[in-house]
Amino acid sequence: MDAGILGYGLYLPYYRIKTAEIAPVWGKLASDIERSLGISQKSVAAMDEDAVTMAYQASLDALLDAGINPGKIEALMVGSESHPYAVNPTSTILGEFLGIGHSYLATDLEFACKAGTTALISLAAMISSGTFSTAMAVGSDCAQAKPHDILEYTAASGAAAFILGTKHKAIADIVAITSYSSDTPDFWRRDGVRFPSHGGRFTGEPAYFSHVENCGRQLFEKSKLTARDFRFAVFHMPNGKFPKEAAKRLGFTEEQTAASLIVKDIGNPYTASSLIGLAAALDQAQQNDLIFLVSYGSGAGSDGLVLRMTKNAGKKRNGANYQERQYRKKYISYLDYLKFRGKI
């Protein structure tokens, strides 16, 4: 297809909370939680941050990196499961703040943790069809988790944005896309309900693994590539264990997933998880490297895409890369965490 990534940006909030800070509050041993979830800390948005502000930060960096004028954006899609409004789009607020103008397609997407990749492949297809020449896909989440729920150790905050355009200026070409969907109610949040519910262990085999593995195999078939052809493999990371296991089942080595395994640093920023993972892989990718990405959204579905780095890859970026975003951080108490997320 004739579409690629022209530039990207990501945003991580300043705050982190450790598993060891949360666990004792609920009478749990941090070592038990760390062992069972494979996670030791997560990022936390500040009191004045939400999916819109984080999307804005990531989008600014993406525009800067691509070196394009915001007015060139013809379509903007924002994926999130924490859009601040149920009715009133995040995408138009973002478009206004960025100064895109008004002659553009704006829409919000929601599909649990995969809305961001759905924005990415939808816009890539529109560009490839000639409908638009430049577009922006964003994934941003201030992930919700009920206090004392197991999700509290993982649900994090962050955003990533990608400028898409036709191939000739791209740093990475989109070589193949695919999706795999089914009615699998493993995780949900009803309208008006503040925190999501989930089916516990049901979120594993019949949900995450079934969709990620099937989507991954479809992607191999469609791209006519095998695991060993890729330098990087990126997955949705609901915890530290699932992506490693899915990678193993699809035939990837630990080396192939190491760069994108952001869950160890920031937890699971829902829609932004696989997109920040992709950004971390792009930070390191060189010309001709292949990147394999499979996201996962509960409910359930997976999007898959294959990217090939072009000759434009590897040049110095405008905007902070993933590692640079780790330097500036502060660990907070559980009480501050409750306060920042408006739980008290």
């Binding site: 038990d32 519910s197 089916g199 516990g200 262990r201 049901f202 019949p206």
Partner: protein, 378 residues
């Protein structure tokens, strides 16, 4: 007139997310009819052991529900006696045959638990407890933890000895393809597992399980058939607070004494037993209540392997028990009978107890408020 067991079948126990209670019951009922050598239309009544279909599944009227599924229009009824629902269903089916009203009856135990959140399941299970204890926030692990503490205090029972119950039952389950957990565990693993309600750790506790089991009972005498030589039940206070002694379950003692009397046998005659190890301490107390070991001596006997496969006197929970085979509450009592029936028939494969000719099942509801004991003879 003896009551003969014509067939006994269990489904796979575990997290059966793609199977409904309808599927589970149909599977075991058809297999049981097949094993009995006749079509389901020979069944004259259906007794369904189930606890949570109403509180978790929203489905009452379970007798007709399954009767419809099986294409029958015979009398069918749900029997609820908490975790002893399965045993109680078999007890009533036994009495129905004894009454002369029916010739062939189907006993089905079924429970679907893993579709629901653990906290919802724990709350629904407390429906088996006393109002006071429920309102005080107690759960069954908490109640059995109190029982365990009382036993530790009175008889010096150790947490390590309790852990050995789980180790043994996981070993037996490793030989049972229908078990929920077929992994072998060590004492250290139990001791280091997360605490649920001190002194009980997670590996002292039976799991949440989906599963079904079926038996066909008949008045038809069979040459070399397996018969139920005793079926007895008893009840006690729902709550622990009303009991004089927490180290024994009075209902189990009473029902087993009546059962030994009915069958004309003694505890030392039993070769194979399935007992209600909802928590490791429960198996230790069961061994003593059933008269297999003197009071206070069961823990060390289990620790020494005296009830493990390979033992010639008595083997307990060859299925893996509730701990490792799984505990779909309404199905458990029926599964216990199926396990002992298969042992007496000599078709238990790797977990076969050689020379098993007399077996016992011990099915408990709540924290000892209902006890159902069956004795099976070859």
């Amino acid at each position: 007139m003896p009551v003969t067991i014509l067939s006994g079948v269990t489904s796979k126990f575990g997290e059966l997310w793609d199977v409904s209670p309808r599927n589970l019951v149909k599977e075991v009922a058809l297999a049981a009819a097949d094993e009995a050598g006749f079509a389901l239309d020979k069944i004259e009544a259906v007794f369904v052991g189930n606890m949570l279909s109403s509180s978790l599944g929203g489905q009452d009227h379970l007798g007709a529900f399954f009767s419809e599924e099986l294409g029958l229009s015979v009398p069918a009824v749900k029997i609820e006696a908490a975790c002893a629902s399965g045993g109680m269903a078999a007890h009533l089916a036994y009495l129905a045959i004894k009454s002369g009203q029916y010739k062939n009856v189907l006993v089905v135990g079924v429970e679907k638990m893993t579709d629901h959140k653990p906290e919802a399941v724990a709350a629904a299970l407390m429906g088996a407890g006393s109002e006071g204890e429920r309102e005080a926030g107690a759960t069954f692990p908490a109640l059995y933890a109190l029982i365990a503490r009382a036993h530790m205090l009175k008889y010096g029972t150790t947490e390590a000895a309790m852990a050995e119950v789980s180790v043994k039952n996981h070993f037996h389950a490793s030989l049972n393809s229908h078990a929920q957990f077929t992994n072998r565990i060590t004492r250290q693993m139990v001791m280091e597992s997360p605490v649920v309600a001190s002194p009980l750790k997670i590996l002292d506790c039976s799991p949440i399980t989906d599963g079904a089991a079926a038996l066909i009972l008949s008045s038809k005498p069979l040459k070399k058939g397996i018969i139920i030589s005793a079926s007895q039940a008893a009840t006690d206070s729902l709550g622990l607070a009303q009991r004089l002694d927490l180290t024994t379950l009075k209902a189990a003692v009473s029902a087993s004494n009546k059962a030994y009397q009915e069958a004309g046998v003694k505890p030392e005659d039993i070769k194979v037993a399935e007992v209600h190890d909802c928590f490791s301490i429960a198996e230790i107390i069961a061994m003593e209540d059933l008269g297999f070991f003197p009071k206070g001596e069961a823990a060390s006997a289990i620790e020494k392997g005296k009830t493990q496969l390979g033992n010639n006197r008595l083997v307990v929970n060859t299925s893996g028990g509730l701990k490792a085979a799984g505990h779909p509450v309404g199905a458990t009592g029926v599964k216990q009978l199926v396990e002992v029936y298969q042992q007496l028939k000599g078709i238990s494969g790797k977990k076969q107890v050689p020379g098993a000719d007399l077996g016992l099942t011990h099915n408990i509801g709540g924290s000892g408020a209902t006890a159902v004991i069956h004795i099976l003879k070859k």
